[in-house]
């Protein structure tokens, strides 16, 4: 084979190319996920207004509507906590907070992912850089976790201002629980979104037949055991119900139902970890075929 070299190679010429590669690859190997998160936040700026409206506007609408309307109508205590009777607004607030985190994933872990693989193909661009597929999915999840935390913290401040938290000290853990609920719902959804190659309206179906029923049948507006047993299973499978029950325990000072907090927590963790493992596997499979 003929080996002829014409001109000078680009970049520093004295350096051995293999050594240069080994040095240059070290930083992305560690921080690739962070660069992906940076990019994701920068892209979120394009719809920053929607994020703020969803983060503050939506809770305000719910709290005003329920607090001034429904809660005034249901003028009896709906539960008993360690700190005494619980008002309807105090009952609903943890559920609303958790559902706001889950709602974020309905956008970030669906169409955004589909777009990254198929429409705008951004993930393929990242994939050609030193960043690994596992870091791509890691960075996306990290960026969304931060968005969920900021949203639920804003939500928490609002519900405290509306007097909807019995114990604001332990209740302050609600944003963490809400975010965990968001991951328990969102990471399996992310894995599913990463597996879709053809948009046939799957996400609209998830919205209609998964998200909306979960919102209504997860003991959000009334205790789950109010419903007939044959409908309660929806709640048992629902990350929203588990996150809400933990949130209520934190607010009231004691668990509102028969299930211990540890069980709710374990179920959320199992869902989130399973989703995470599947999502990683799907990103690797898709980008490294």
């Amino acid at each position: 084979m003929s080996t002829h070299t014409s001109g000078t190679p680009a970049g520093p010429t004295t350096e051995d190319p293999t050594a240069r590669a080994m040095t240059a690859g070290a930083l992305p190997r560690r921080l690739g996920w962070w660069y992906v998160a940076e990019h994701t936040w920068r892209a979120m700026r394009a719809y920053a207004w929607t994020i703020v409206m969803e983060g503050i506007g939506q809770p305000l609408v719910y709290l005003l509507g329920i607090g001034l309307g429904l809660a005034a109508f249901i003028d009896v205590s709906v539960a008993d906590g360690a700190n005494g009777p619980v008002t309807y607004l105090e009952f609903v607030a943890p559920a609303l907070l958790a559902s706001s985190a889950i709602g974020i994933t309905m956008g970030e872990f669906t169409y955004v992912v589909m777009s990254g693989f198929k429409w705008r193909r951004l993930y393929w661009g990242m994939n050609a850089s030193p960043v690994q597929p596992q870091q791509i999915v890691g960075g996306i999840v990290f960026a969304v976790v931060v968005r969920m935390l900021l949203t639920t913290i804003a939500y928490y401040v609002l519900i405290v201002a509306f007097g909807a938290v019995v114990d604001p000290w332990t209740g302050a853990l609600m944003p963490l629980v809400g975010t965990l609920g968001g991951l328990a719902f969102g990471l399996p959804l992310l894995a599913y979104a990463a597996s879709i190659t053809e948009d046939k309206g799957q996400f609209a179906m998830v919205q209609r037949f998964v998200f909306t029923p979960l919102f209504l049948f997860s003991g959000t507006f009334y205790p789950l055991d109010t419903m007939p047993v044959w409908l309660q299973w929806i709640g048992w499978l629902s990350p929203l119900w588990h996150a809400t029950e933990i949130g209520r325990s934190l607010s009231y000072g004691s668990p509102p139902g028969a299930w211990p907090v540890g069980v709710h927590l374990a179920i959320l963790l199992v869902m989130a970890v399973t989703g995470w493992v599947l999502a990683r596997r799907m990103f690797v499979k898709r980008l490294r075929g």
């Binding site: 070299t5 014409s6 001109g7 000078t8 970049g11 240069r20 240059a24 992906v36 940076e38």
Partner: protein
């Protein structure tokens, strides 16, 4: 000097399909190397393996002396990749696209910013720095993609069908930019199914078909080896081409009958045309041209490159 890319028996299978079937090649530093072949020949799959985003099924591959299976991030840190389909971020401005991409290589933000400005000048896009990507024409988007691929000062620039879908003028602007990179000594690896592109940009190329290398050499050497100096293209009308070709038997080094025309390979096309007329044959149109890689491909595979 060790080659920047060395492939031996490189193979990629997808289930029953063998996309790349045991190919051998080496690319020395500074060379402009082309993979020429029709769609589905295995060019893009080969590029993905070199780009350390697709692992090989068999054989050996070294890029910058490293094994892509073990050192993907390290290899990719030294590559610039221009994909077949643009994947710029339309949510970001033109200049931001470069900066964000530079960060993926662990390059400090300030360095990314100064390199972005230089590259926008190189890509003749300095006026568009604050525009949205969607405002750019197809040719400008390609140039931006090339600028983005250079943000890490790559050792090897890989281009997959760089000018497919561009109008002739935009292609020439792009070729000019790539030629400058080549002059600066950047190693180029490109796939194309355009003959003129391969002739313009490649020092050396391999002709690929069905995942195999059919021939290898510089464009001019391949033409010398597999075609005559000139070609006479004669058209007698679709149903009369075969009949006419039968009468032309023995008049040229080689005769190729295509559905729409007859190709006669010879060293002197004009002289041949005269002999054809002397024979009493009157083609509806005739054209004498220099042989090209298209003819090489036809000879090697019996098929036209763009069908």
């Amino acid at each position: 000097m060790t080659p920047v890319i060395a492939a031996r028996g490189l193979t990629k299978t997808f289930g029953d399909l063998t996309a790349v079937d045991g190919i051998d090649f080496e690319v020395p530093a500074g060379e402009s190397f082309g993979l020429l072949g029709p769609n589905g020949a295995g060019k893009s799959t080969t590029m993905r393996m070199i780009g350390a985003v697709s692992s090989r099924s068999a054989g050996d591959l070294r890029v910058l002396g490293l094994d892509p299976d073990a050192h993907g991030p390290e290899i990719r840190s030294q590559l610039g990749v221009v994909p077949q389909e643009d994947n710029l971020d339309p949510e970001l401005k033109v200049r931001e696209n470069l900066i964000v991409y530079g960060r993926y290589f662990g390059i400090p933000r300030a360095t990314c910013a100064s390199r972005a400005d230089e590259l926008l000048t190189f890509a003749q896009l300095e006026d568009k720095a604050r525009n949205k990507v969607d405002d750019l024409s197809g040719g400008m988007k390609r140039r931006l993609t090339i600028a983005r691929a250079l943000i890490n000062e790559p050792r090897i620039l890989m281009l997959d069908e760089p000018t497919t879908g561009l109008d002739p003028q935009a292609r020439h602007v792009l070729w000019d930019r790539l030629f400058r990179l080549k002059e600066r000594g950047t190693t180029l690896v490109l796939t194309t199914h355009y003959m003129d592109e391969a002739e313009q940009l490649c020092d050396r190329l391999v002709v690929v078909d069905h995942g195999r290398i059919m021939a290898e050499g510089s464009p001019s050497a391949l033409i010398r080896q597999y075609a005559s100096r000139e070609v006479a293209e004669l058209r007698f009308g679709s149903d009369r081409n075969a009949e006419a070709a039968a009468r032309l038997e023995g008049m040229a080094e080689r005769i190729e009958v295509l559905p729409d025309r007859v190709l006669l390979y010879t060293d002197d096309g004009e002289a041949l045309l005269e002999r054809v007329t002397d024979l009493g044959l009157h083609p509806t149109t005739s054209l004498v041209r220099r042989s090209s890689l298209e003819d090489v491909f036809l000879r090697l595979t019996g098929r036209s490159l763009i069908e």
